[in-house]
């Protein structure tokens, strides 16, 4: 049912903004055979210029703020930020730290975000988030 309605495959650029790696390994787990999102044409790409979705992990430390912004600006419209993990959504366990620029809505206030809560979320939850992002992109005219 997904394949009928989607016009193109979804490419994701992964940005780690100071995460603990927990979410990152679950993203890789989602790509590898057990969960295998690559069968839907979803894949990680090496450049933000090719990407429809930015998968953001980590609470965005002060040092990463401008890098996250730059990556976001380089991505073509329409685009979605998939915030994987509680620490990108709210600061999570790192809230109140003196070295955070995040959470994401402070750094990218205008971005459309799909939140995947969990510390770390399970691969199933990440896939669910990707599908939500995908639906949004379709409705926003992605792939034309």
């Amino acid at each position: 049912m997904i394949s009928k309605s989607f016009k193109k495959s979804l490419w994701i650029f992964h940005v780690n903004s100071g995460s603990c790696n927990g979410c990152d390994i679950e993203i890789v787990a989602a790509l590898t055979p057990r969960y295998d999102v690559e069968r839907f044409g979803i894949k990680l790409v090496g450049s933000p210029r090719h990407a429809d979705v930015m998968a953001l992990t980590g609470p965005i430390t002060s040092d990463m703020e401008d890098k996250v912004k730059r990556v976001y600006e380089q991505m073509p419209d329409p685009k979605v930020v998939l915030v994987v993990g509680s620490c990108g959504i709210s600061g999570g366990v790192f809230h109140e730290s003196y070295h955070l620029a995040g959470p994401v809505n402070k750094v990218l206030p205008d971005a459309t975000c799909v939140y995947v809560p969990g510390c770390p979320p399970r691969p199933e939850a990440i896939i669910d988030g990707v599908v939500k992002a995908w639906k949004f992109l379709e409705s926003a005219g992605g792939g034309e």
Partner: protein, 404 residues
């Protein structure tokens, strides 16, 4: 013509953010500089200001999501020593099992990443598929795939119940049956051998001088392992021996290939330790103090300093803790993660190799590279950007050329 290839400086996938500046002449690397600092979440500050010691266990877990057992383990060992908290025997066995489960998942994860860096993606997918078995076991025992939340001062939070045991034994059998196949895939494949044999050598002398730890130092022939040297938890009951590559290949070269050998053998060793632990685990309590407020009060009264050491998958992890009586949080908390000791080894490893070797050699110390790396080549002051993808492509190209 000399170029500088800075990799990083933000290396987002690392616990300690890193910049590697490589000076290259043509394809050959002639100098390597490592700059650490930059990305930092203020974890120690949180532990010393915002949190009480029990909350700090959970922030210690988030120092690294991959080795999320080793950091709480070190912290807890240090605090237990200062506050004189007893740990029941059964809890010590459960801690050993958890620690070895973590090693299996971490080493398999690394093996997949290493295969990916060589451009051998089918092997990446295979290893990660195999790794799901230990992830399932972790989920059965802990209720979560990644972060375990198992450690507590004075014991562990969840027991290994009778119904868990057959599942864990099934996992043991699965890995024992699979070992020969995986070893063959990694160690006998001609291409992997060509790309890793004699690449990224760390001599025993350099390893000792740079105080490398874990599989990195053991691959250079140094028999160093905290579980063997100063056993903790229930490790004194296990005859853990530091693993060096000559146990399988008969010689020590100290190259990337040897680091693969050591990690594969350690997976086997971990499986054996878990098996023995299941056989010998005594019955009884799993925690000495059930009531958290009472525990906190005890820690609050305690005074002194201690060091917790644990053999994490990447090497020796050290936490220094100081408690002051009447102080709500930890008075001082200092974390020294294993990668911090190992990154200096990049310099001797990378010297005189090719740019295409950077990914696999950098990954060979297992610094949690998953990288959105950028690299820049300066050529007559004109900057040319090399992305992680370019680097990866260079590496894949080299593999293909060698296969011709």
């Amino acid at each position: 013509m000399k170029y500088t290839v800075p990799i990083g400086p933000i290396h987002p996938a690392l616990k300690e953010p890193i910049a590697i500046n490589c000076t290259v002449s043509g394809e050959e690397i002639t100098d390597v500089d490592v700059v650490a600092s930059q990305n930092h979440r203020g974890i120690e500050w949180i532990g010393m200001n915002r949190n009480n010691p029990v909350q700090t266990i959970y922030i210690a877990e988030r120092v690294c999501g991959i080795c999320n057992f080793c950091h709480p383990a070190c912290l807890i060992m240090a605090v237990e020593e200062i506050a004189d908290i007893d740990v029941p025997e059964r809890a010590q066995y459960i801690r050993v099992i958890q620690s070895e489960l973590e090693r299996i998942h971490s080493h398999l994860l690394w093996a997949g990443v290493a295969a990916h860096e060589l451009g051998f993606d089918s092997l990446l997918h295979y290893t990660w598929m195999v790794r799901e078995k230990v992830m399932d076991t972790l989920e059965i025992v802990n209720g979560n795939r990644v972060t375990k939340a198992i450690m507590m001062y004075g014991g562990v939070r969840r027991d290994i119940k009778d119904e868990h045991v057959p599942k864990i034994r099934e996992m043991i059998k699965y890995y024992q049956d699979l070992f020969d196949k995986v070893a063959k895939l990694f160690l006998e494949d001609k291409t992997i051998k060509m790309r890793t044999r004699n690449i990224g050598i760390l001599t025993k002398e350099d390893a000792l001088k740079l105080q490398a730890v874990g599989p990195t130092v053991r691959a250079s022939g140094v028999k160093k392992d905290v579980r063997q040297d100063t056993p903790y938890f229930a490790y004194p009951d296990f005859d853990v021996k530091a693993i060096t590559p000559d146990m399988l290949t008969g010689k020590v070269v100290g190259d990337t290939y040897d680091r693969i050998v050591v990690r594969l053998l350690e997976v086997k060793q971990s499986v054996e330790i878990i098996e023995q632990a299941l056989d010998e685990m005594p019955p009884g309590e799993i925690i000495s103090e059930q009531k958290i407020p009472k525990l906190l009060a005890k820690i609050k009264r305690a005074e002194g300093e201690a060091i917790g050491r644990h053999e994490a998958p990447r090497g020796e992890d050290i936490h220094y803790v100081k408690l002051k009586s009447g102080f709500e949080s930890l008075y001082t908390w200092k974390v020294r993660a294993p990668t911090y000791s190992n990154i200096m080894a990049w310099r001797p490893m990378l010297m005189h190799h090719q740019i295409a070797d950077i990914p696999i050699v950098a990954a060979s110390i297992d610094p949690c590279l998953s990288c959105t790396n950028r690299a820049v080549v300066t050529e007559n002051n004109e900057e040319k950007w090399l992305t992680a993808e370019d680097l990866h492509n260079l590496s894949v190209k080299k593999t293909k050329e060698m296969m011709k």
